[in-house]
């Protein structure tokens, strides 16, 4: 089972290329409001996580995801 922090660390590493504002990424960082990902970039981000952790992420969870912490918690639920 993947650790919650593993998900977060991977997300931070992927998002650095989009982090034009040089924010310190954390669980409370918002994908759209803070980093400014477009809808297409969100889907590409999801794909990278799926490939890294060999999981399928249903699109249904995305409306409940604002922050990286939200996303990591959803991934924890999927993993369990």
């Amino acid at each position: 089972m993947t650790e919650h922090q593993e998900y977060l660390d991977f997300m931070y590493s992927v998002l650095e290329q989009h982090n034009k504002g040089g924010l310190v990424l954390s669980e409370t960082t918002e994908l759209v409001a803070d980093i400014g990902l477009s809808s297409l970039e969100v889907m590409e981000f999801v794909e990278k996580i799926e490939d890294q952790f060999d999981i399928s992420i249903p699109l249904n969870i995305l409306p409940d995801v604002n922050t990286l912490g939200d996303f990591a918690r959803k991934l924890d639920e999927l993993d369990s």
Binding site: S39, M43, E47, D54, I55, P58
Partner: protein, 400 residues
């Protein structure tokens, strides 16, 4: 306040207004033929219509519609569940089923209603819809309405589909896999044989939307499934009457008798007025012509090869293989708008496609070829693009 979330659209509209360009909702003031019209005050060749076989102006289809209007009136004024099932609707369903060599067919008032309705009904809560990432909006809409888990797989990637099916394990028996025959924006074809191989290994039910491939592919024009030789492996085929058949409406066919069982469970079927009988009559005639005149499909592909080769020879980014949908890909929005406008001034109407309709962040000048185009018209379209290159509006090094 509800409109605040549409500020991006207002900004885009302002950009278009500033350039005096109307690529969306351009008004067709006069239709001259299946391939020519007066659009926004200008006579143009129609190169963005999905009228693949040119049947929207076939005199036989028009005559059938006129006769049906005289006989049945202008509309049914009811849904198929209530008073809107006329013998014409039932007959078209039988003819579609016979065309596909199956026993079951349902027709819908639009193609959107067909694919949305089927996807919304076939899978439900606790079940899974596995859809190609480039699926049409109607498929995404239906998937959302279904309540099923929605998982995307990478576009045209059977290996990625296999990975996701593997992860589902036994749940594949409750999984609907959704793909298209030809994808609407880039015109690329699904690798259906490979997809079927994956389905056979892991399980699942396969739904193929043939909106842009019916009438276009296959020895008999049945579409990508026929062309791939996998008709016995596909559970549901959906399509539209608004492209190769030149009318409006949609359908789903299946060899499963349960299609009949769910007919009155499909909300986009029961909660909307049925097709006008004149549309059904025109569609029936078009379906007969599609079957009896395979030369139309040959002409379509002759025109396709001519346009694709001509644009490719100019150095434009038009995808890896010919298709009746030929999209020129650009990276810059302003450039795409300027090119669309210049093509209109040159007398060529194409579709301008922007994200999210475009499957990536790129912009498309989307051309669709018709069997009704003459070779001279295809050459005029190519020449118009050549002028864009010569004028520096498209630098072939800049395209994606």
């Amino acid at each position: 306040m509800l409109f605040e979330k549409f500020e991006y659209m207002a900004e885009f509209q302002a950009e278009l207004d500033a350039q005096h360009v109307v690529p969306f909702g351009a008004i067709t003031e006069k239709i001259l033929s299946a391939t020519e019209a007066v659009v926004s005050g200008r006579k143009v060749i129609l190169a963005g219509t999905n009228n693949y076989l040119g049947l929207s102006f076939d005199p036989r289809c028009i005559s059938a519609a006129q006769e049906a209007a005289g006989k049945w009136g202008t509309g049914t004024t009811g849904s198929r569940l209530a008073n809107g099932s006329f013998i014409e609707h039932e007959t078209l369903e039988s003819e579609l089923a016979a065309f596909y060599g199956v026993n079951h067919a349902i027709i819908f008032t639009t193609g959107f209603a067909a694919t949305m309705g089927m996807c919304a009904t076939l899978a439900g809560p606790g079940e899974v819809i596995l859809l190609d990432a480039d699926s049409h909006a109607s498929i995404y809409a239906g998937a959302q309405l279904s309540g099923a888990e929605i998982i995307r797989f990478k576009h045209n990637d059977p290996e990625d589909l296999a990975k996701r099916l593997r992860r589902l394990g036994e749940r594949t028996s409750q999984t609907l896999i959704v793909v298209e025959g030809i994808y609407s924006m880039l015109g690329d074809k699904a690798p259906l044989q490979d997809i079927v191989a994956v389905k056979q290994e892991y399980g699942g039910s396969l739904f193929v939307d043939e909106a842009h491939s019916m009438g276009v592919l296959g020895t008999h024009g049945r579409g990508a499934v026929e062309a791939a030789g996998i008709e016995n492996e596909v559970d549901f085929i959906a399509g539209t009457f608004s492209k190769s058949l030149g009318a409006t409406g949609g359908y789903c066919v299946s060899r499963h008798p349960e299609l009949e069982t769910i007919r009155y469970c499909i909300r986009s079927y029961i909660f909307t007025a049925s097709s006008s009988p004149m549309i059904v009559a025109a569609t029936r005639e078009a379906l007969q012509i599609l079957q009896s005149e395979p030369g139309l499909r040959r002409k379509l592909w002759d025109n396709t090869d001519r346009l694709y080769s001509g644009l490719r020879a100019l150095g434009l980014s038009v995808g890896t293989s010919p298709s009746p949908v030929v999209a020129v890909t650009l990276e810059d929005r302003s450039q795409a708008i300027s090119c669309w406008s210049a093509l209109m001034e040159a007398g060529v109407y194409v579709n301008l496609v922007v994200p999210p309709a475009s499957p990536s962040t790129n912009f498309l000048l989307r051309n669709s070829v018709s069997a009704a185009h003459s070779s001279a018209q295809i050459d005029t379209i190519i020449a118009a693009y050549a002028r864009l290159v010569d004028a520096g509006l498209i630098d072939v090094e800049q395209v994606a």
